[in-house]
Structures are given as C-alpha cells and as structure tokens.
C-alpha cells in the first residue's frame, strides 16, 4: 500500500503519509488513505456508480486538498463511498487541472465494515512535495 498512518502526532485525528511515482499516483494513494480511514476493507467497495471529478487550482497542494474534500463531500451528500482508479493532472498557464474517475457505491452497513467518519481534511501540516524520484503527501484528517 503506498500510504501509511502516522502515530502520536494527531492523537485525536488521523495523520497519513501517501506517496507515488508522479502526481497522479500520489493523489490516488491519498484518496485510498482517506477512504481507508472510513472503510476497513476497500475491496468491499464495489464499482457500481461513478462520478467524474474536475478541479483546478493554481497550487498543486491545494488541488490535493480540494480533491480529498470531494471524497468527503460525496460521503455525506450522497452517502457514497468512492475509490479513484485514475487521475490525470495537467499543468498549463500556471494552473493545475485535474480530471478523475471515481467509482464506488452507497455505504451498506451490512457489507462495509466502518472505521471512523472523516469530518474534514485539515490544512495543519498538510504537505505535498517531491521526494526523491517521486512525490509524497501528508495530511491530517479531522475525525
């Protein structure tokens, strides 16, 4: 799994570190880390519905913040659990443009073993940075 949960900083919340070879991969890893806080077995989320996410931001880090916020939004607004199999991110004219396919299904308490609800993505120590040949992201989710 290209993400891990970090202990002993955000003791009431959840902090994760995710990584990937490029921006798309680190975004996908961060989405998995966020979803995995709420649902124990991500494989239990079946690809029954899909949503297309389109976002843009001048700052790649804030684009990741907005992207994770979308997953939290769909969880409440449509009770929809989403995983993100593919993300494309393009940069032009100083703006990052993201297009992602998110697939999943409404939460079914019988089939989806729940963890903790994510209230929000916080900007405290929120970070997206190049690391070696790839990228890494850290975030604290408010529980």
């Amino acid at each position: 799994m290209p993400y891990e949960y970090l202990d002993d900083v955000a003791i009431a919340d959840v902090q994760f570190r995710a990584w990937g070879a490029d921006l798309s991969e680190v975004f996908i890893s961060a989405a998995e880390a966020t979803a995995n806080v709420m649902i124990r077995d991500l494989a239990s989320i079946l690809p029954r519905e899909q949503r297309t996410l389109t976002l843009e931001n001048e700052d790649a880090e804030m684009l990741l913040f907005d992207f994770l916020g979308e997953l939290v939004y769909y969880k409440d607004a449509e009770h929809l659990l989403l995983r993100v199999p593919s993300v494309t991110i393009e940069q032009s004219d100083g703006t990052y443009r993201l297009r992602a396919l998110a697939v999943g299904e409404p939460l079914d308490p019988q089939r989806h073993e729940q963890g903790a609800d994510v209230k929000a993505v916080t900007l405290h120590r929120f970070n997206l940075a190049r690391e070696g040949d790839g990228w890494s992201a850290t975030a604290i989710l408010d529980i």
């Binding site: 903790a116 900007l123 405290h124």
Partner: protein, 485 residues
Amino acid sequence: MAVADQLVRVSDTLWELPRSFKEGMRVPARIVGTEPLVRAMDETVYEQISNVACLPGITEYAFCMPDGHFGYGFPIGGVAAMDVAQGGVISPGGIGFDINCGMRLLRTNLTYEEVKPRLKQLVDRLFQQVPAGVGSRGMLSIPREEFRQVCVQGARWCVDRGFGWTEDLTFTEENGCIGGADPAKVSERAIDRGLKQLGTLGSGNHYLEIQVVRPENVFDAKLLRFFGLDHPGQVAVMFHCGSRGFGHQVATDYLQTFLKAMPRYHLQVRDRELACAPFHSPEGQDYFAAMKCALNISFANRQMILHRVREVFAQVFGREAEALGLHMIYDVAHNTAKLERHVVHGRERQLLVHRKGATRAFGPGSPEIPAAYREVGQPVIIGGSMETGSYLMVGVPEGAQTFYSTAHGSGRTMSRHRAKHQWRGSVLRSELEQRGIYIRSVSDAGIAEEAGGAYKDIDQVTEAAELAGISKRVVRFAPIGNVKG
C-alpha cells in the same frame, strides 16, 4: 532548553508561557491544570497555544484547558477572547470543523434496578433510532428551503413541529436558537452534506450514553438535588455530537475564504489552520453568520436525537416520556465563538470568545443562563470515555479568569491508530459487558479507538478544573449503556 522548562508556574493549577517564548506573541499563553496534567501534555500544545497568542485582538491570555491536547491551528482545549473593537479576528480554526459540537444531558426518574433488566433492549432500540457511523443519515426528510429555516430557527424549528417540549429550549444554550444566522452565507455544498443528517450522532468520539448516579460519585448532594437527580441509582442520558457534515463544510469553505483574504488585511499566521479575518470585515461577518447557521443546525440535531430518545424510552418502558421524567438538564456547546461582555481591568468589553474543545461555564447570576439555574451557575457537561464516566459540573464566579471557560472532556493521550493495535474492539466490548456496560457500535475498530485507556484520567481533569476555580464538580456519572458510531 525543552519547551516544558520554559513554563512558568503561576500557581498550582496555572502555568504560563511568557511572551518571550516566541516572537510575535501579543499576550502570554496560560495552561490550566495540575503539574502532572500539564507536564504530560504533548509539546504541540505549547506550540499551538503560543501561536494562538499571536492572533490580532487577543485579550489577556491565550488559554488552554486541563484536557488540552494536539489540535489543528488551536489546540483542543484552546480559549481565545478577541477584542473586536481593536481589530480582533475570527478564526474557524479556533472553533473547530465540528461547529457546536456539544453535550446534552437529561435525567429520568428511573433507577438502575428498573433499567437493568431492559438495558440491552433499550440500547439496541436507541442504536436503531439514533443513526450513527460514517455519513449516517437521519429519518427526517425535508426540502432545502426548510433546511434553511432550521439554520435560522435551530431547535425551535424542531419543537414547533412536535419534536420536543418547549422547556427543552429553556434548558439549551441560547435557547437552542442563536440570532444572526444567515443561510445566504452558506454554500450549497454545505446544505448537500447536511440535508439528510438531522438526528444523527456521527462517529469518532460521539456517543449516546445511559448513565447512573452512584452515591460514592456525588460531590455536591445539594446541587445534585437542585438538578433533579435526587435519588440513589437514578439514571441519566447524555449524548455528544455536533453539526455533522453541514458544519464541517461551513468550516472548510471559510478556511479557504480566509486564506485568500488574509493578504488583503495584512494578516500572517504560523499555521494555515489559524487562517482568520478581522471580525469587522465582510469575510469575518459572513463566516460569523454562516457559523451561527451551523450552531443552530447542531442544536436542532441534538433536539431531534432527544426526541428519538424519549420515543425509545416510552416504547421500552411502556410509559409516556413525561411519566418517565425525561427532562433536559442542559445542552451546552464546546466548539464555538460567541460575542460576550467580559470585564477586563475594571472595564466591560465586548469580546469574541473562541472555545475549541472548551465549555462555556458562566457563574451564578449570569443573565445568559436559564433563570432556574441563576442561583447555582451554569451546568457544564464533561463527556468522558465510554469506560470511565462523565461529569456534571457548574460554573463559578472565579471562572472570570478564563472568560468563564472550562474543560470539555477527558482529552486523548494516545492516537487512534495506536489504540487499535493496543485493544481489540470485540474483546473490549465483552470485557465492558462483564463490567455492566453494554455497547452497540457500527464498528469494532471504533470501540478500540475510543478505549478508556486512550484518554486522560477524567477524574484528574475535573479535579484540576475545580482546583483552578473554573468550575465545580457536582457528580460523576457511571456508564451502563453506550451507542457509538
């Protein structure tokens, strides 16, 4: 030099980080607590509370309560009073994402002996009727326009539609409806997230608990009688929840608004979660009006839950809720910012008091508390872990030193991730059942995360609050049944 070594002891229960601790501190930071509690706090608390002391308009001190721990921006347990006439700011990070997360406490006239044979049935029914868990949805289906009305009317909206009693409003902070809420300042996304969640608990440390008063846990029998808890073994109901996805989105939206607005007001902060705007600015006023919508949604959420609790008790015990004496003792928020009048150096000033994981605790005589309680002070409801119990305290006159603010819970000492490695939810549940505490949760992992061992000792927290003179203990409630997300 370690940060802890720079703490100056002001008294046995008050510790100060002087302005010299960090460049930019406008006032000293003060941590309330006994030495063991304060020394055991993680150093991020010192870091965060001293960052708060740098915010424009902060008055007297940045405070951290005895249950303080790591937050984002503000520590949990942070209190900051901003002088709005002197450029004081409003900061979503000083309130928390879960706007008006708070506690509601009811009494019953039932005893433990009466409840015990039906405890499982009671908790099982509550688990069905008060939805909990990830993105949980309530049973109320209302159009968006109606939801906007709830934003304005709060718990009053519920009571007007038969979801509760008029007296419930009397015993809710702000009578369950704070003025100045403007739904036009709230995004459609926030309404999308909250529309179907009225009457739900959520998850994390939110819970609904059946509790009992045991004679050995009574600190002030006279006050206990005053609040209608006058016989041994009497059963109470306590729950902890907030404004759900609606409030979380309001906070998220304005965090970004403020980050963009700060350069315009020449504001710089040490942490993006401290994003703020002058209270008297268009952005500051918009957030204040939007935040009040979330305050009201949360009062309405707890009112709907109260209504379901009464329904369930009536079904299980075959008597009307009135006959079971299911009266509210109080409902109080612990994630808010409110305009209040406080006397500073002999002069009354209007201050915006941010309380993040801190409870307002007005003393006797305050016009802000129900007339019935003015003689004794405002009830303060301190939620503990599902294993260790919770407290009823009251505000005291000496509370003026912290702008009448006190603790809100026990405060965590261990991460959720570590707690899951330390305990197994299913084992913990069986152990607690053997100790007479019956738990229903949507998640075994959630039970492990909320294990009592992951929290500070609530007895120490409430004792420290009393010793410091910011609130006084009335009773400690012992849990017997718990519903959680």
